[in-house]
């Protein structure tokens, strides 16, 4: 038999709200642990320092430059994706590559708009002079 299901979600963003809002505008908003200064983009809810000793930690948001270095990349039918480290972040981010095929490891964050905000980068070559 034929059957069709159409779903229209309105997802509660919760603690990820500032991060997702930043992505839609092209701003890299990272989460910073005030206890050990670890910076994560995308944000970790609980810092690794807290998972080690279970002592309380508090968190704030930190705006990064939006520059990133591509560590690994893959190209194929679905486009290009990378594991990249944003300047100032201690973790890596899975990113969609906006301009797949471009050589180089230097990249910058791109705004994605309000629909499905996600980390999207544009590769600029080996170095970045300015971010526009």
């Amino acid at each position: 038999m034929k059957y069709q299901l159409v779903l229209d979600y309105h997802l509660g963003e919760g603690a990820l709200g500032p991060y997702l809002e930043g992505l839609s505008e092209g701003t890299a908003l990272a989460r910073q642990c005030r206890r050990c200064d670890r910076v994560t983009f995308p944000p970790e809810r609980v810092c690794t320092c807290q998972t080690k000793d279970n002592l309380p930690a508090t968190y704030g948001w930190k705006t990064l430059t939006g520059r990133a270095s591509v560590i690994h990349r893959t190209y194929g039918l679905g486009g290009g994706f990378a594991l990249a480290r944003f300047d100032g972040a201690d973790n890596l981010a899975v990113c969609r590559i906006d301009n797949p095929g471009r050589e180089g490891t230097a990249a910058v964050l791109r705004a994605t708009g309000e629909y499905r905000p996600a980390i999207t980068i544009e590769i600029r070559g080996e170095t970045i002079e300015t971010i526009d």
Partner: protein, 389 residues
């Protein structure tokens, strides 16, 4: 110890006969029940494995299958852990018996991953198997995430595209002797290299297929099995573990740390001190060709896994045969059934009743099954052994 009193599984393929998951699950259950030589009334509990209601259009599938199986009144539940769902269900069944809650448990896994939805739709849904709120929003596919993990693995271990292609070829070769397999293919390394690039380094032939099918086990407390089945294979150890859900939060995105944790726990329960010498057969989670090598590394199956792989140590005639069923790439991957089918292979190999072209001449004494969900995020390992002599 928990006995595996009976096993059953359907063919894994893309169904074109109009049948549905309830038919496949019933077929696998009936086969396992007959093999176990017990009646429906002897089953205390049913554990059902299925990854996604989006695939089946059935929430609460355990209630539906309990009814279909004629198990009125049985305790029933669903177990889910993405690609690990089948073995998570096996572990739940083992826990019910070891805790004394149940004496005999039916574990049944199914998934209509192939014929119900388009491949495009299934692939998009699989993209939500990871951190749907961050990585998943980028539209990244499972293949792309596995590819990024494989790139990190290749950079660290020196594995090549040709190494991966050799696995893609070998698993399809084994599938030719497995009448239940989805992709029995006679292919070459060139065929793998020339098939369409899905996400480099993975071409289409490096990927496991989307399959329909079901598999089942009847587990029993040693004292509750029929006398005729008291010498059957048993589960000596179970272990589960997890890793950071996002690749970018892991110390090494190319290492399956959650799998290592799961294996260590399973080996400890089974009394295996040296996995690199004490295991005779392994069914590992080869969602992609490279993932088979990553699994062999994390499971601790060799002191020098790259060297032993390249010298044929993990082939049918090697020291430790891996994925003789064809694995996910050859036998197929109906998600909820996958881990249970691995158990079926291990048990039948130990009992000497596996497909004739693939049965080891000296049946293995110790076999392991390894699955995971996500990119080795939710990991489950099970150790099977022969009956004590």
């Amino acid at each position: 110890m928990v006995l595996v009193a009976g096993t059953g599984m359907t063919a894994f393929n893309r169904r074109k006969d109009g049948s549905g998951f309830r038919d496949w699950a019933s077929e696998a259950f009936e086969e396992a029940l007959v093999a176990a030589q017990i009646g429906r009334g002897d089953i205390d509990a049913l554990v059902v494995a299925s990854e996604s209601d989006y695939f089946s259009m059935q929430l609460n599938p355990a209630s539906v299958l309990a009814d279909d199986f004629g198990l009125a009144g049985v305790a029933c539940q669903r177990a889910e852990g993405g690609g690990a769902s089948g073995q998570v269900a096996v572990h739940a069944g083992v826990a019910l018996i070891r805790s004394g809650v149940a004496r005999r448990v039916a574990v049944v896994g199914f998934e209509p991953s192939a014929s119900y939805l388009s491949g495009t739709a299934v692939s998009e849904l699989y993209g939500y198997s990871f951190d749907a709120w961050t990585d998943g929003m980028s539209g990244v596919s499972a293949t792309a995430l596995y590819a990024l993990s494989a790139k990190a693995f290749m950079a660290r271990c020196g594995a090549t595209f040709e190494d991966f292609a050799a696995i893609a070829v070998l698993n399809r070769t084994y599938a030719c002797d497995n009448p239940l397999a989805h992709l029995p293919l006679e292919i070459t390394l060139d065929d793998v290299a020339e098939s369409p690039m899905i996400s480099d380094p993975y071409t289409r032939l490096d990927c496991s297929p989307l399959s329909d099918g079901a598999a089942a086990l009847i587990l029993s407390h040693p004292d509750a099995a029929p006398q005729s089945r008291r010498q059957c294979a048993r589960i000596a150890g179970i272990g589960a573990g997890s890793d950071r859900v996002r690749l970018g939060d892991r110390a090494d995105p190319g290492y399956f740390a959650g799998k290592q944790i799961a294996a260590k726990r399973a080996y400890e329960m089974a009394g295996i001190a040296r996995p690199e010498t004490e295991i005779d057969l392994a069914e590992v989670y080869d969602a992609y060709s490279g993932a088979q090598l990553q699994a062999i590394e994390a499971l601790g199956l060799s002191q020098d896994f790259m060297d032993e792989f390249r010298s044929g140590g993990f082939t049918q005639s090697g020291r430790l045969p891996v994925n003789l069923s064809g694995g996910l790439m050859g036998q197929g991957a109906p998600v909820g059934a996958t881990g249970i089918a691995q158990a079926v292979t291990c048990v039948r190999q130990i009992e000497g009743t596996y497909h004739s072209g693939l049965q080891l001449r000296d049946p293995p004494r110790v076999a392991i099954a390894d699955t995971h969900g996500g990119v080795a995020t939710v990991c489950a390992v099970t150790v099977f052994t022969e009956a004590p002599q």
